[in-house]
């Protein structure tokens, strides 16, 4: 249907300005809906419509332009010359150069640059400006106070047992072998477990492997050559060896008849070609050598008899054993009676096998170890002290600690620093001694636990220390850096300490020997007097010198006074002379002072020497 709207305008109004006005809207056409059209439509129900709420993504490809690289050599030929100059022709080159040199700017620039350059050249000549300062001064170890920190604690799953021995895994601080045993004589309850465990350091809750010997292990050692093999000494005198790959039962153990008759306190692996030799020591007085391939019988036997007759009846039972793999034929055993035996395995006769006996301690020697860096020096721990011995001095230790309040149970040297050693005590403390720092007291005392510490073992690197207590708790303690970082001079200084003490002991030894000889001849006292006399002589001599010098000076001064007085009386006093004598006096005074000093030094020296010998005698 057509909708029309007619708009009219008078011809006379054409061209006139349009005047617009507003008016309300006018309804022109109204078309109503036609309900009949509904019949042609159907309602649709349901209506399916798909909707999606998803990020719209699109895929694009981008490719950068390939950057082509190529390797070329560059040939430096002469270049840069302006086009009209041929570099080969010398004349042209010279002409060009002269032209440039005439340029004014050239002159001023060169002068300027020259000045700068000279400054730097002079700098270079004066000092090396790239010198590395302090390059030769080592970074001093940080001066932090010594400390030790408990890292891990391993508790024995069974009760009533103490830690008897600890051995670190040879290939790094990852595992520990701990032997548990109740060492109180016949006091262990009947059903105490005989197991000892291998622990992994990361997992202190559960042991990695349990070793099941017939009787509890008193000592346990990893084979340093083969880290899966362990040997253990039992409380009943047997020795057994395990392979940790093969399980908890010992691969083989010795027969009771052929082994020791007392607990095997220490077993150590020997340095041998086969790597299967070990030797053991026990309080029955024997040292037995074994080959782990055939544990039915020992290879060799030795009795620790100080009378050198290999008599088992008077042999000393031994608690500790010392063996250094670098000195394969010698070893040392510390006995229950306190003596230390130095033995040579390859002695020709039985008597030769025991090389020397050191007086040792008042009670059993619990630990014995050579200093890893100075093999001639070894330390022993027993009764209430730790002593340091030198192999050459057989009468007395060269250094010892003071008597402690409680007994010492174990000790070892530090592998990293030659002057550091550790001791464990029955009050549960671990002492760290640093000979360079303090010799009278331990440098650090750590209270590891409340029960007595029975054994300790330092890990090869020198940082971690495992301590075992009487209640079956093994603690790993980490030491502060000062204890395992070695200074440059340390070896020399510690060597000097040991040598000095050795010398002192030697002097004392020789003096004792002389005294003994004189006693036999009946003149011991005279000798002492003679020595005292010598000292007194020195002192007297020094005093005499001193007084003589003073006398001389007095005489000189008196003489000069007399001369001056004489001059005054004669009226020949010259101001210059007075001044001259004044200066002369001052010079004399200075001389006097020097002489006095020298004379004073002599009695001082004599006093020092006297003091030294007195302290040495002590």
């Amino acid at each position: 249907m057509e909708i029309q709207y007619v708009y009219t305008k008078k011809r006379a109004d054409f061209g006139r300005q349009c005047i617009f006005s507003d008016r309300p809207s006018e309804l022109l056409v109204d078309i109503a809906p036609n309900p009949e059209a509904l019949k042609e439509f159907l309602e649709r129900d349901p209506v399916d419509r798909a909707i999606q709420v998803v990020q719209e993504m699109s895929e694009h490809d981008v490719n950068t332009e390939r950057f082509e690289t190529d390797s070329h050599g560059v040939n430096h030929a002469e270049g840069g010359w302006p086009k009209d100059v041929n570099p080969q022709e010398v004349e042209q080159v010279i002409r060009f150069r002269k032209k440039v040199e005439k340029d004014e700017m050239y002159v001023s620039t060169v002068q300027n640059l020259g000045n700068q350059m000279e400054h730097c050249i002079r700098q270079n000549n004066a000092i090396d400006i790239y010198q590395d300062y302090f390059s030769d001064i080592e970074i001093q170890a940080t001066e932090e106070p010594p400390s030790a920190k408990t890292i891990n604690v391993f508790r024995d799953p069974c009760k009533d047992r103490g830690v008897a021995h600890i051995s670190w895994y040879p290939d790094g601080p990852t595992k520990l072998a701990i032997a548990y045993c109740n060492t109180d004589f016949q006091r262990a309850p009947k059903d105490t477990s005989t197991e000892s465990y291998l622990w992994d350091v990361i997992n202190p809750n559960k042991p990695e492997l349990a070793l099941k010997p017939v009787s509890p292990l008193v000592c346990l050692e990893y084979n340093p050559k083969d880290s899966h093999v362990l040997v253990g000494g039992c409380y009943n005198g047997q020795i057994a060896y395990w392979d940790s790959r093969k399980g908890s039962q010992p691969v083989e153990s010795t027969e009771v008849a052929n082994g020791h008759r007392d607990p095997v306190w220490k077993v150590i692996w020997n340095q041998s070609k086969t790597g299967t030799e070990c030797f053991s020591v026990s309080t029955d007085g024997q040292v037995l050598w074994w080959d782990t391939r055939k544990l039915s019988e020992p290879i060799e036997r030795l009795c620790l008899d100080p009378t050198k007759k290999q008599d088992l009846a008077c042999a000393h039972g031994a608690y500790s054993l010392e063996y250094e793999p670098t000195i394969p034929t010698k070893f040392m055993a510390g006995s229950e009676q306190g003596a230390i035996f130095a033995c040579n395995r390859k002695g020709k006769t039985d008597a030769d096998k025991i090389v020397a006996v050191y007086p040792g301690h008042i009670g059993p020697v619990y630990a014995l170890q050579r200093n890893p860096q100075f093999p001639k020096v070894f330390m022993s721990v027993g009764d209430w002290t730790a002593r340091i011995w030198s192999e050459d001095i057989k009468e007395n230790a060269i250094m010892w600690t003071k008597y402690h309040q409680c007994g010492l149970t174990d000790g070892c040297w530090s592998t990293a620093r030659p002057g550091v050693f550790f001791t464990s005590k029955t009050d549960g403390t671990l002492d760290v001694w640093d000979l360079l720092f303090k010799q009278n007291d331990p440098t650090l005392t750590v209270q590891v636990c409340d029960e007595p510490l029975q054994c300790l073992r330092l890990q090869e690197h020198g940082r971690l220390m495992a301590c075992g207590s009487q209640s079956g708790v093994a603690t790993i303690v980490e030491l502060s850096e000062g204890f395992y970082a070695q200074n440059r001079n340390e070896r020399n200084l510690v060597n000097a300490i040991f040598e000095r003490e050795t010398r002192r002991e030697k002097i004392l030894e020789s003096r004792h020997r002389e005294m003994k000889l004189k006693e036999k001849k009946g003149g011991a006292e005279e000798e002492e007097e003679h020595r005292d006399e010598e000292h007194e002589d020195l002192v007297a001599k020094a005093e005499a010198d001193f007084f003589a010098a003073i006398e001389n000076e007095k005489k000189l001064r008196d003489r000069r006074k007399e001369e001056r007085e004489a001059a005054l009386r004669n009226g020949q006093v010259d101001e210059e002379e007075e001044a001259g004598t004044g200066i002369g006096d001052a010079e004399d005074e200075a001389e006097e002072k020097q002489e006095l000093e020298k004379v004073e030094e002599v009695p001082e020296q004599a006093a020092e020497e006297k003091g030294e010998s007195e302290s040495a005698e002590k």
């Binding site: 002469e78 840069g80 040199e101 060169v110 020259g114 000279e118 050249i121 000092i127 790239y130």
Partner: protein, 98 residues
């Protein structure tokens, strides 16, 4: 003549092995080295390096400019004093006097 003087003065310092004045396009104007190829090598290599150093300094901070370049090697030290048109290059053997 002043140029001569300056040049000679530089060469007379202790430890100085040689000096070269290079123009901005790499031509050695004056050189104390006897062999030409040594001169040419120094010119070409050092001039490029100095140019690179200058552009690096300016790229990092447009207001900055290269004043001096020192290359210290094991055996000697090459010092370069740049200017807009020329370059003064000196090779010196440093004396390790403490």
């Amino acid at each position: 003549a002043e140029v001569e003087e300056t040049f000679k003065r530089i060469l007379s310092h202790k430890g100085v092995i040689g000096a070269i004045i290079v123009s901005y396009d790499g031509i050695p104007i004056r050189s104390s080295f006897a062999e030409n190829d040594v001169t040419v090598q120094y010119c070409a290599l050092i001039q490029q390096l100095a140019q690179k150093a200058k552009s690096a300094v300016r790229d990092l901070d447009p207001g900055n400019d290269l004043t001096f370049l020192r290359i210290r090697s094991k055996k000697n030290e090459i010092m370069v004093a740049p200017s807009p048109d020329y370059l003064l290059l000196v090779v010196q053997e440093p004396n390790d006097q403490p």
